[in-house]
């Protein structure tokens, strides 16, 4: 029969505690890693839809539909045909036909604009010359002011920078459309 040794028991307990703490830490780390995949929205622009379809960086986000033979973007992560405008160019008029209504006409930017939403940053999109804006939606929802990760627009102009539609989520970006 083994003699009782308080030191051995103590270290055995400590080892047990350390293992448990390690497991807990590991679980927390795993949870953190899983949670770190922020939702990131890329705004891209091309001269034409054909140019967008030909961009190798977008190969994973669209394809020719074998049923219709038409190019189709992945509806789960892509908004194709986003309209972009500068509110300083808006023109307000009154609709001559009934009902009388005030109409705000936007001057849309030319070309083909689209949003690609990803889980975390995507190097190919980061490096793509078509990328105009990168925003971390998860950070925006959390109220983190640093959610604009990249923009070709000067910060001072972003307040006038509007686009529609954006993906529906708990918090809309401040550069989305506003009620005229």
């Amino acid at each position: 029969m083994r003699d009782y040794d308080p030191n051995v028991t103590y270290w055995a307990n400590m080892r047990c505690l350390l293992i448990a703490a390690g497991m807990l830490l590991g679980a927390l780390l795993l949870a953190c890693v899983a949670a770190r995949a922020d939702t990131v929205d890329y705004l891209l622009t091309y001269a034409t839809t054909a140019a967008a379809q030909a961009d190798p960086a977008l190969a994973a986000y669209g394809s020719v539909d074998p049923d219709t033979n038409a190019w189709t973007w992945r509806g789960d992560v892509v908004i194709a045909g986003v309209q972009v405008w500068d509110t300083r160019q808006d023109v307000t008029s009154t609709n001559p036909s009934p009902p009388p209504a005030t109409i705000t006409t936007h001057t849309y930017q030319s070309g083909f604009w689209m949003i690609v939403s990803t889980q975390g940053r995507v190097a190919a999109l980061d490096a793509d010359a078509a990328t105009q804006l990168v925003a971390d939606r998860s950070m925006a929802i959390a109220g983190n002011p640093g959610f604009i990760l990249y923009s070709t627009e000067p910060a001072v102009d972003l307040q006038y920078f509007m686009l529609a539609p954006t993906f529906a989520d708990v918090v809309a970006y401040p550069f989305g459309t506003t009620i005229p």
Binding site: L17, D76, I79, P96, P98, P99, T166, A168
Partner: protein, 585 residues
């Protein structure tokens, strides 16, 4: 002492796991499949293996590879937006980005859509005649609607109350307009809203209508079209109207709700709760129904005939027109439409991007007024996209099994659900697909486009294989059950207990079927647009053709009967889950 404390803590944690596993959706390991898998009483279907995957979305139970839990534990979701879903009681709730839409209706899978109306919650109104921002009204009755309750919520639905009360003076119409939206000829739009009668009555009300007005870029009304919708009741109902825009000069559309009274003077008094107006562009492609000359151009071969073909953007198949020219070399008539074409953006009347064909020489500058085919029968309102200042897009749902089961050399799909697209819908709607993640290798069950037939597609190495085609129409909004098995040179498929369709040759199995999509194709497109209630995958010892032939009834009918037992028997509904939890614990 510390060790003993830890042991107690571990024991308490382990004891709490089954309940937490169910609540949190963490899969729980079992020594044998739970009773809902393929059978009710623990007895296996004679001569038939249990499914390797069994997901019952309505019960929120799923089983795969010795694990059971909430379907969300087994199904990965890609959807870059929130989504709204409704349960059997009519209560709406919002589902987070990339989370599974599941409730007692099933697992909901929808294509992506945009609500172009900026203010569907009706914000900005005050009691009286300050209407929600972007909203307007017009009337010929002399009765000005009053807002009587603002930004209310009922069953998860955001609404304002609008009161029409008084004696009509001259005309009969009161219209409410939520906002004007940019639009083009050839597009097919669906306008929808929720409403209910919250006070008063429909006395002296003739009809309630939804409509769309097409405007040119100067704001001049061009075309108005409307339809009578179901009268409001005391309960919420959603009404909708779909229209393909016809005028070549259309630049905007204005949707409206119109209350039409009997001939004046009459007393009316009704209060409508109006909620979640939505204006969404359907993905229907346009074709040319007819055409006329807008501008004849110059320098074409005089007194001749030939074909002009669209060469601009927007069409996957370019329209072509048979035309004639005058003695002066000007195109003076369209004799017929040679090719109707397929266009996502309809060629505008001012566009001169038409290539002249044989017989017309080298003229230029001609343009045409095209009338699009009417695609209204394809339109549908998808679940609400709630907006409060921005046009917002709901992304499509792409559901895949987190771990695809090894399916072996013969396997079978069984499932059920309710598709919500019209049978005339232009895109196929896939229920379950086993593939290599592409369309080159796939075995899939789908509801076909144009008329809604149940069908199967098999592709191997990029080559289309022979397939069974039950062909039965899966009616819109009607519960249906499907099954299809595959083996080399064998495919059998059936729908709703009907006679199976089968082929016995010309089938090579798809290569590397390592991905299972629920409600879409392997490439994440062609969405089910509805609720998938239950699906099962039978594998490994799955039926060989001879077994299928001898046990057709059992294979195709028994799982459904069991499913019906589970779903519809009050006894099972009341006792199934608690008993199941008790067994697992």
């Amino acid at each position: 002492m510390i060790r003993r404390t830890l042991l107690v803590l571990f024991a308490l944690t382990a004891a709490a796991l089954p309940a937490r596993a169910y609540q949190l959706g963490t899969p729980l390991a079992l020594l044998q499949p739970p009773p809902f898998v393929g059978n009710v009483n623990g007895s296996q279907i004679a001569g038939f293996p249990l499914p390797v995957v069994d997901v019952d979305c309505t019960k929120r139970l799923a089983y795969q590879n010795g694990l059971w839990g909430d379907p969300a534990s087994f199904v990965a979701v890609s959807r870059a937006s929130v989504a709204e879903q409704v349960d059997n009681s009519g209560a709406w709730s919002q589902v987070a980005t990339n989370a599974l839409q599941e409730n007692n209706q099933g697992c909901n899978v929808w294509e992506g859509r945009t609500n172009s109306l900026l203010n569907s919650i009706g914000a900005g109104a005050t009691i009286g005649t300050i209407y929600p921002t972007t909203y307007n009204q017009s009337n010929t009755t002399g009765i000005v609607p009053r807002i009587t309750a603002v930004e209310q919520v009922s069953q998860g639905i955001n609404f304002n109350s609008w009161l029409l009360s008084g004696t009509t003076a001259t005309g009969t119409q009161n219209s409410i307009y939520p906002a004007q939206v940019a639009a083009l000829q050839g597009q097919t739009w669906t306008f929808s809203l929720f409403y209910r009668l919250s006070a008063g009555s429909l006395a002296n009300i003739s009809t309630i209508q939804l409509g769309l007005i097409e405007y040119n870029s100067s704001g001049t009304a061009l075309v108005t079209q409307q339809v009578v919708v179901a009268n409001p009741t005391l309960s919420w109902q959603r009404v909708e109207f779909t229209r393909t825009l016809t005028n070549a000069s259309t630049a905007f559309i204005l949707p409206f709700l119109q209350i039409v009274a009997n001939a004046a003077p009459v007393a009316i008094n009704l209060q409508l709760d109006i909620a979640w107006p939505q204006l969404e562009l359907n993905p229907a492609t346009s074709s040319v129904a007819s055409a006329t000359v807008n501008s004849g151009g110059t320098l074409y071969t005089p007194s001749s005939s030939g074909t002009v073909t669209w060469s601009g953007a927007g069409c996957s198949v370019n329209p072509a027109l048979n035309v004639t020219t005058s003695s002066g070399g000007v195109i003076n008539a369209v004799t017929s439409v040679a090719t109707a074409g397929t266009c996502t953006t309809f060629p505008s009347s001012s566009a001169t991007t038409w290539s002249d064909g044989t017989g017309l020489g080298t003229g230029s500058g001609a343009s045409f007024n095209l009338t699009p085919t009417n695609n209204a029968s394809q339109g549908l309102a998808t679940p609400p996209i709630v907006t409060s200042g921005s046009a917002l897009a709901r992304a499509a749902d792409v559901l895949t099994l987190i771990v695809a089961p090894p399916v072996g050399a013969a396997y079978m799909l069984v499932g059920s659900g309710v598709p919500n697209a019209p049978t005339a819908y232009g895109n196929a709607q896939y229920s379950v697909t086993i593939s290599d993640g592409t369309n080159n290798n796939r075995f899939a069950q789908f509801r076909g486009s144009s008329s809604g037939p149940i069908d199967v597609v098999i592709t191997s190495g990029g080559a289309t294989q022979s397939n069974a085609s039950p062909g039965t129409v899966w009616t819109q909004s009607i519960f249906g059950k499907f099954a299809s098995s595959i083996a080399t040179n064998s495919n059998i498929a059936a729908f709703d207990g009907g006679a199976p369709s089968s082929v016995g040759s010309g089938i090579t199995l798809p290569i590397n079927p390592a991905q299972v999509n629920i409600g879409s194709r392997g490439d994440g497109l062609a969405y089910f647009n509805g609720a998938l209630q239950r699906f099962q995958i039978f594998s490994a010892a799955a039926p060989q053709p001879s077994v299928l032939q001898s046990q057709t009834n059992a294979i195709f009918n028994l799982p459904y009967l069991l499913e019906d037992d589970l779903h519809r028997s009050p006894a099972n509904d009341n006792g199934f889950v608690p008993a199941f939890l008790a067994r697992a614990a």
